[in-house]
Amino acid sequence: MKRFVEIFCAFDRMAKALLALACSLFGGGALAHAASTAYLDIGMPQANEVAVQWVVPLRDLDAVLDLDANADGQLAWSEVTARRRDIEALMLDQVQLSTGAHPCMLAIAPLRFADLESGGYAALQARAQCPDAIDRVRLDYRFLEHLDATHRVLLTTPGTRTPRPLAPGQRAQLDLRSAPSRFGALLGNGIAHILGGADHLLFLVALLLPAVVMRTAGRWAARTDLNAALLEVVWIATAFTVAHSITLGLASFHIVSIPGRIIEPLIAVTVLLAALNNLWPVVTRRLAAVAFSFGLVHGFGFAEVLAPLALPARELALALFGFNLGVEIGQLAIITSAFMLLVLARQWQGYGRWVLGAGSALLALTAGIWIVERVFNVPVFALAVAGA
């Protein structure tokens, strides 16, 4: 249909000027980039200081400041830095924080570049010094006011879980004291992740199944010494925890990073191996060592939950702690309930065959399907369910 509008422009000579506009109509909606979006991260305040980062599309800065000195339609980094004073002045003028009646002073660090999915951005890092302690701070955001009403800044503060959009000319009253609620959110996130993440859960179950029994003369028999069984479980859980904490830390601080497409199948492999080990025992003692080495893999999986938050270092440490604590709480809940059930079940004659054997076989099958799904990126489960 858009075509049809265009043609019309060509046809109607008397109305050329206005009709030419019709050529600009969008067709089936496949044309657009993302609309103009900036990001503003406000950190955790310390007394009357707070770290601020404004990440803003260079295309927008150019529209306002005409940074393109040689008018070639693109920006070299030198063209941007040549105008850094103007860019800083613009931030001082249009991104204002204040406490009470008084504005905060921004000390802006040297300009940096952020290469985001929707284009090139300028990253302006600053420390805001406010006259009063920063519990509540007011934000006046006026970038592109009267120029592009569809611009949005996505605002992140220590208390927010998802960024909040703000339009040019909007004011926001920010409560920066709510850091604990963010901590709480991450704690909840950690619990939800382990309880909802079937792979971590099944891995733990696979390790716990043989803990309440003992292998004697090639057969499984109920452990009589419950203290020993409990100790074994504690060792397993601790080893798993320590291991995944290490890799979660390493990945979150970008010291080591392994892409999800490698880690996700590997996690499934750990479930498979743990389950197979119950069926054809290779490692019968020191399951804690298995939990430790496999836990390293799971930690990288946990890190993928935190990575998209892109938290600054100082907050990341706290976030990491909160998230990990959540994972441990969830884990403790699983282990306690599973252990109690297993202690009751272990006396049953069929435990070895049905709980440990069939259970592990089922775990192995599940893990196998996950591996196929994650390696080939096909939803086997979904297909199987849909086909049923």
């Binding site: 043609i7 046809f11 000027a17 089936g28 103009s36 611009h151 996505l154 390493l250």
Partner: protein, 393 residues
């Protein structure tokens, strides 16, 4: 491992974690080389100047210049696919808010065009009704408004309204009216009437008119499953007038046929809009290229950002996003997006995505909706038939 050595191991690990914590995270920013290109597709200097000047001066300054600048902004957006130009155009038109009484009729049409570009169809339609009411058939604004209203009606599947607006165009431009009528016929079960009309029209016209007729012809051939003829028509359309929308439709056609390499070549130098990146991703996947993962991550981030804006940006191109989720295996989300898209947009390509999502999700209600629409309008489309047929067997 003895208990003692295990404890030692724990202790070392704890130290490692603590050390990692003290190390600090690198921010996702860098300092590029001075000559590194960090942004492209900037607004041309003339438009930057116009934008700054016209948003700063008194409202009554030079209305003709203001209208021309707003128009130019919208045109630019169509070339580079950047919706921020719509925001700029709106700011230039700020002295004439769409709602007030004494706004020049040309400004109303421009406001309507902006709304239409943002898929705010009902707002655009009511503005156009007002513009048509306030102008006479001899005035440019009249034809412009009529044409835009017909375009919206076609996009939203209001075929009766397209027909009636086409008819009113007949006295102004016969050729246009014929193509317009044929493009309605093509989606209303009269492919056999539409195709010869479009073919003849494409032979008698040139440039963008010819490209329009050929693009519509290619779609009609696709609906009938005549792939060779469709390919020739797409080629000829791009030769007559290169246009991103035609290129994307052509790329979809090529991808559906499995010609991923040709599709990739077609989009090689296209501006990286969401629609372009989506199709680049699809072809990289079909070809087994390694950059598919990066392209997918890029699209996922863009979609997430669009959602976070909270203004429905994510639904603006819901047809494309539905296709994206569908191919990623997120079937339920794909169906949600396809249905959201279908509420606004009802062209064959929209129905096709809805049918695919409904079929993948095994949603019999959604599927029944697709069949009902085909019955009601008489739309013939072998691609939709194939999707529905697959599920039946």
């Amino acid at each position: 491992m003895s208990t003692r050595s295990f404890i030692r191991c724990l202790f070392v690990s704890a130290l490692l974690v603590a050390a990692a914590g003290a190390n600090g995270a690198p921010l996702p920013s860098s300092t590029p080389q001075p000559d590194a290109i960090v942004a492209t597709q900037l607004l041309p200097r003339a438009q930057k100047d116009a934008l700054r000047r016209l948003t700063a001066v008194a409202p009554e300054t030079d209305p003709a210049q203001r209208l021309a600048a707003a128009r130019r902004m919208i045109e630019l957006g169509r070339i580079n696919g950047d919706p921020r130009t719509l925001g700029y155009a709106e700011s230039i038109l700020a002295p004439w808010p769409a709602g007030s009484a004494d706004v020049p009729v040309d400004a109303i049409v421009l406001h309507a065009t902006i709304a239409q570009s943002r898929h705010a169809f009902s707002r655009a339609r009511s503005l156009l009704d007002r513009a048509i009411e306030r102008s006479k058939p001899g005035e440019p604004a009249f034809a412009q408004a009529l044409l835009t209203r017909a375009a919206i009606a076609q996009a939203t599947g209001d075929l009766a309204a397209v027909r009636s607006d086409c008819q009113r165009l007949f006295s102004l431009a016969r050729e246009i009216a014929a193509i317009c009528a044929a493009s309605v016929d093509a989606v209303a079960g009269r492919l056999d009437t539409a195709i010869p009309v479009l073919r003849v029209a494409s032979e008698r016209t040139a440039d963008s008119v010819r490209a329009w007729a050929l693009g519509a012809l290619a779609q009609a051939y696709e609906q009938r499953g005549e792939r060779g003829a469709a390919e020739n028509a797409y080629d000829a359309a791009l030769n007559a007038s290169d246009d991103l929308t035609t290129r994307l439709a052509y790329a979809d056609f090529l991808l559906a046929r499995g010609s991923a390499a040709t599709a990739a070549r077609l989009l090689q130098d296209a501006p990286p809009t969401d629609g372009v990146v989506l199709r680049q991703w699809r072809s990289a996947r079909l070809l087994g290229h390694s950059e598919a993962a990066a392209l997918e991550a890029r699209l996922a981030t863009r979609l997430e950002d669009a959602r976070r804006r909270g203004d429905g940006s994510d639904l603006l191109h819901a047809r494309d996003w539905a296709q994206f989720e569908l191919e990623r295996g997120a079937v339920a989300e794909a169906l949600r997006l396809a249905q959201a898209n279908w509420r606004d947009q009802r062209e064959p390509a929209d129905l096709l995505v809805l049918a695919r999502a409904a079929s993948a999700a095994r949603d019999s209600d959604a599927r029944a909706g697709v069949i009902a629409w085909m019955k009601r309008t008489g739309l013939q489309d072998v691609r939709v038939d194939a999707v529905l047929g697959e599920e039946r067997s």
